[in-house]
Amino acid sequence: MTKEAIFTPVGKAAEELAAPKKSGKKGASLYEKAVDLPEPTTATPAKLGLKKGQLLEMFESMVLQRRFEERAMQMYQKGKFGGFLHLYIGQEAVSTGTTAALKDDDDIITAYRDHGWGLVRGVSARQGMAELFGKATGCSKGKGGSMHFANVEKHFWGGYGIVGGHIPLGGGLAFANKYKGLDRVTTCFMGDGAVDQGALHETMNMAQLWKLPIMFIVENNGYAMGTATRRHSTGELWERALGYGMKHRVVNGMDVLSVYEAMKEMAADVRKDSMPWFVEIRTYRYRGHSMSDPQKYRDKEEMEEFQSLDPIERLKTVLLDKKMATQKAIDVIYEKVEEEVMDAVEFADNSPFPEDSALYEDMYSEPNPVFHR
């Protein structure tokens, strides 16, 4: 057996590798698509119970997440801050649809691609940008940075930097809610790369065993850093649920209405049964894994295809088609968001860095902890 044979994917990925490319496009991806999007919902906003005001709020939120990150990237490249910067651009329908569907005290925890999640859960553009800049006015006082946005008061428990490491924490949030008899659903988001981590499986087992009110939700954006989903994980991601007898669902993450509909239904089910769900939301990230990603693992055509399905454009079309907004109203939203983001940049820029004394703060709970010296 040659080396290649050992390390070539098996199953569906291998079939695609062997089969002629459907698109026939020169330079097309190794695989037909990074993710196969399921059909979006056919339900109208009205049928979903979404009113014009809510839809406009969702639209504005998505535009804010997009512009916030575009400006963040610019500030990064201007050298305003360093470290990691994992952009969520392209995936905004997931955060937006989810928060719209959940109750305000339902718990959210996610991985390091967390800016969008912060912005939908009460981290203001100012606090977010200041956190990126490492300023004392940041949502985590400048101590977390890009990967550790959080707003615990609003039940957003933060972004975490160890792939899969936060999944047991999500299990623990749900455990505590159940222990205390609180009617809260925990939604634990992760990237497709985390699906391969043991932490997910240990937690899924206990969640199913102990009937924890939690949803394990994979934002499958097609790539674990630079490795295509089908090259890092065998079979379909949602099939992981089968081994635990867990309820599961695949959702189109490029359509905010589809995300909203699915999350609404599943959250209600969790509240009713206190049984966990495993959810695969298929989406796409437009940017690299982080700032230093040359993105050699995918080609322009694939990107263009997904950009043509852009969730913001899609919702805009709905708003215009349903005459819920005029182009002028849309333009006003863009202008407002632009102002908000530029104000955030200015705020972050002018904010003070943390005092030296902050170095020793927040390590322990007691007022005068002992530090080893």
Binding site: S140, W157, L169, G172, A174, Y179, M206, M363, Y364
Partner: protein, 327 residues
Amino acid sequence: MAELQFREALRQAIDEEMARDENVFIMGEEVSEYNGAYKVTEGLLETYGFKRVIDTPIAELGFAGIGVGAAMNGLRPIIEFMTFNFAVLAADQIINHASKVKYMLGGQVSVPIVFRGPNASAGQLGATHSVAYESMYAHFPGIKVIHPSEPGDAKGLLKSAIRDNDTVLFMESEQMYGLKGEVNEDPEYLIPIGKAAVKREGSDVTLVTHGKIYHTVVKAAAELAKEGIEAEIVDLRTVKPLDMDTVIASVKKTHRCVVVDEAHPFAGTAAEVGYLLQRDAFDDLDAPVVRVTLPDVSAPFSKPLFDAWFPSVKDVVDGAKHVLYKS
């Protein structure tokens, strides 16, 4: 005061704290129906039921992390590891999450959790069941590490650990669970974390130790006394925060120090105490600080090899004589 076994003292501490605060629960392998692998949790299921005394699958990473998440969300978990050797599988949750979440979220959450279980060797258990981890965890900010040697200390310190608002690692020993000692039964009797105790007074040499090997040191002190050498024993009780004030006060009296540490030598507690003594008590030392530790070798199974591996009373006596220039 009552004379209790080490395991009974621990159980009393857990029982009293569970009775006091219903957010306290205990979770781990075999803690519930089986009554605990080492019977620490015996009878707790009857009192508190399955909700608060929880058997877990053999999934240390998973249940340690669920504990951390529960602590973030307002509970006070006690996570029992059957041994700290297995906690290595959960190290990501202890080191990357429990100890850091508060800091990296700018203080938005706390993680009031106790991870406890036996640590270090316990006879011929082979290489993977014999490791002392206290210095490894003590290395990380955000974690307190307690490693008592006697039932009375164990109870008072475990109660403090459960009431502490941050992450505490509480280390025991399989070989000490049956050890008896005087235990204060006042439910409000707490021993502060981070305070060492002078367990034997002496003027000639300071023996610094903690955990199970304390009992080897006690025997060595008795041997030394036969030769007219009066050793002072400082039982650290808490490895971190490290109570150097007590150690230094003793060394200022004796001018000599041997650190006896049931761990491998590299970057261990002994090394740390030695460093701090040369920094803070340099002019009071009449001899370099000596350490008595395990060798830089994994635990062997064979009895004679194991005995050669584990520091003996003679090793401690020799160490003391060495710093007294009597070897």
